[in-house]
Amino acid sequence: MKFPPSFILPFTIGLLFIVSFLIVIVGVWISQLSKIDKSRIIHNIFTRKTLLAVHETFMESLLHRKIFKKNPVLGYMHMSLAFGWFLLIVVGHIEAYQHYQTLSIPIYKTIFMRYFATHQSITLGGKMLAASMDLLLLFVLSGVLLAYYKRFNSRAFGMKKTTQLKTGDRIALAALWFIFPLRFLAESVSAGIHHNGSIISQPTGNFLASFLPVQIFEMPLWWGYSCALGLFFFALPVSRYMHIPVEVVMIFLRNYGIKVQKRIDGFSRIQIYSCSRCGICLDSCQMTHAAIKDTQSVYMLKHLRNRKITDEKLFNCLLCGRCQTDCPVGLELNSLRITQRIESTRDYNSSYEYLRNGKIAISPQTQVIYFAGCMTHLTPAIIKSMKGLFEEAKVQYWFMDEEKTACCGRPLMQIGQYEAAQKLIDNNRERILASGAKKLVVSCPICYKVFKEDYAIPGIVVQHHSEYLLELMANGRLPVNKMNTRVVYHDPCELGRGSGIYHQPRLLLDEYAEVISIKNEKEEAFCCGGSLANTKIQMAERNQIREKAMDEYVRYKPDVLATACPLCKKTFAKSRQLPVHDISEIIYMAIQETKPSKLREEQQLKNTVKI
């Protein structure tokens, strides 16, 4: 038996290593999934969901559609590398089957085909396949060139920042940079010797052969190519390129309905490894406005992967979710951070035992509950407007937290204290259910999200006051009065990205004022900087984040900055560049304007300080 040449060894050993490594590690991760998640895989694997996952893998892992949307040049770079390489492998195999006329070919013979197949194909199909292989390699090389250029000039790609590399990344990156140029040179040189090249490699080979002793270069180049491949496979587990195989697994599992849990399990590890460290999240992160540059999601995931996360980095995040909107891999970045926060705060779990020991206050019977929230108690103008609007619409309601109520639980959840939050939730839920209410109206988006997602209160509709007031208005229970006030609406993180409420506040505001549409709105909206989720940030840094957002709003020259969150209101009000009002205040003011002037005067007289 004839032994193959020794240069195939680095590649073959590398391939064996990486395939067995991946089988083991993905096996371990899947074994760590909860029973429910495992049954999700079994139930869904032979359904349409698998096809959807294949489609998504093709669109995202190969074509990189989301990066394309964000930035076409960056998208092309990723696509040429991923899709180009993928096609090189597929077409390479077809070419090999066609050439050797058999399906049982050792893999090295397809990968290094130009070395082994020393004569040119004579069939038209063979010629066309060879030509397409040359063109595909050119396609990949164009991506490699862009990658070289991006490393040194990331701004040209519309990215202000690019991620810092670790040793493993550097080795894998260097290997990746060398793989395709070496392949091209090796194939060209072989073509120069054996005349087995195609439309690009043959002329290049002929050219090289015209002035170089190509025989001497052939073996070293094929060795180099094989080594680069082998090195890449060996460096893969310690580099960010692990995302290439793991992302595919993640896409399938996600399509089967698996999500990040409240504990670190196999799926959270899979998500962590699926981060390609593209750095797109660095550009969307407002923490950079306060010169905080090492706590962003990409770094959090890197530290989680290496199990070197510090509280300083973990808790220095506003959880605004802008990075999640922009993440081309669609990672659950907020959930991953909260999951780690749960792990990191296990030791100091607050007990809240007094809630369990104390008597639960009796709830009055009501149809509508109003829950202002602690933040709204710091912005009494909102409460005053809501009271006025309830009165205007003649709604009988129970103001649940007028004097004393436990917190909704969400701020505790944001810092990872789920167990403690659950005690508050249980207490409040009991009171809500005892009232027999059908509707719970909430003024604070932070409370809104937790009532909606984590309170099991069947039969009770939870509404943010912007939804509720819109409903009242649509039912004719609130008069309409369009003022000519120009308003920029700031989407609160927890209401917008957090709960998907973008349209109701705008529809409502539009009836009472002139809403200006702006660049950074809805999914792309800024965070005010006041978020309770960040326990590490300094006040001065919060101010910088707020001012940067405010500067943007001021450019549209609105009369008022409107928002639907007491915390956003309080944060922006500190800026003093624009008057800031909650949506309920604006509507209340507009309705007051419609009142006959005598009544209004009386109202105003009542409101002036007499003492």
Partner: protein, 341 residues
């Protein structure tokens, strides 16, 4: 004869002008309001001895009439240029003034209590500021609530807009502690049955007779001092207020119902000073108050030669300290003008 322009016709401005006129200079005051006297016009009685503010106002007025200096009212400084060692000033009414030296006495502004929305100023009927209360303390001031009755329980909140990172002012406004004590005593004198609670962080009784006043407040007038900041206030249906705070000495949260809430608002540098400073290219501290060359021997000198600073445009200051600071500014101006000759 040298010409000195004084920007600001409050206590400091008038005092500087009088001193410099006495020294034989020609002085012009630029005042943005139609009245002189500045913030003194806000107050009825002055700590620590309840001197009627009217008395001080009258003597200032008298001085202004006796001395031979001019006052340009409803005028602001637009720009300032240096030409051949002299200053050329453009005013908002298109006047041009030439001066040998400048004194900035632009003073402070009161903190806008609406910025602490959680206390409900201008949202609730019975939340007022110390400046509002001062007017009610005059003999004809009406001390009844909207229900037509006298308040039975009153709370004072110290440090509103001072020593407060959230409102952006890290510094102490100095005078609000003793103002609170003074006003509490005055209320108690007017309404002997009223209960008064003062919520404070520290009580800084730094001046002459201040500590004694504080002791009287506790011993003679039975005013309660609770160490702790107010977290929020809410209005009840009868327009009384429910306040939440923490008593940090007993370590307990507390809730209390009051009929009137008085916010002891602090001092801020204000727009007037900021505008004048930018016209004169003067440097400011982080707090916004104007920078002096040092805090000891050159506390009247600005970073710009020939431009001097007097009074509370440099830091929060009581009326007595302002008068002293203004006099020292006048003496510095004098010395400097002699040197220039």
């Amino acid at each position: 004869m040298k010409h000195i322009v004084v920007i600001g016709g409050g206590i400091a401005g008038i005092e500087v002008a009088c001193e410099l006129t006495d020294a034989g200079h020609w002085v012009t005051i630029i005042e943005k309001e139609s009245n002189i006297g500045g913030k003194l016009n806000n107050w009825s009685y002055l700590f620590p001895d309840f001197t009627p503010a009217e008395k001080i106002r009258e003597s200032l007025q008298e001085k202004c009439e006796q001395k031979d200096f001019s006052i340009l009212r409803e005028t602001k400084i637009q720009s300032l240029e240096r030409k051949n060692g002299k200053f050329e000033i453009q005013t908002s009414v298109n006047q041009q003034l030439n001066a040998d030296a400048i004194v900035l006495a632009t003073g402070y502004e009161l903190f806008d209590a609406q910025r602490k929305e959680e206390y409900g100023y201008k949202i609730y009927d019975h939340v007022i500021t110390s400046a509002d209360l001062e007017k009610l303390l005059l003999p004809d001031g009406n001390l009844t609530t909207v229900t037509g009755e006298h308040p039975k329980r009153i709370a004072f909140v110290h440090c509103v807009g001072s020593r407060d990172e959230k409102s952006g002012n890290h510094y102490c406004s100095k005078v609000c502690c003793v103002t609170g004590v003074k006003q509490a005593i005055e209320l108690k004198k007017r309404l002997p049955d009223v209960e008064i609670f003062c919520f404070y962080m520290d009580l800084r009784m730094y001046g002459k007779h201040f500590e004694e006043l504080y002791r009287d407040a506790q011993e003679k007038y039975d005013i309660q001092f609770i160490r702790g900041r107010l977290s929020e206030a809410s209005e009840k249906i009868d327009k009384s207020l429910l306040i939440k705070a923490e008593d940090t000495l007993s370590g307990r949260p507390l809730k209390m119902n009051v009929d009137l809430l008085v916010l002891l608002i602090g001092m801020e540098v204000g727009k007037g000073t900021a505008e004048a400073a930018s016209a004169c290219l003067l440097q400011c501290e982080d707090s916004g108050f104007l920078k002096t060359v040092d805090s000891f021997l050159k506390s009247n000198q600005s970073n710009s030669d020939g431009i001097f600073l007097a009074g509370s445009c440099t830091a929060p200051m009581s009326i007595n300290d302002t008068i002293l600071h203004a006099r020292s500014a006048a003496s510095e101006v004098n010395k400097w003008l002699k040197l220039m000759n």
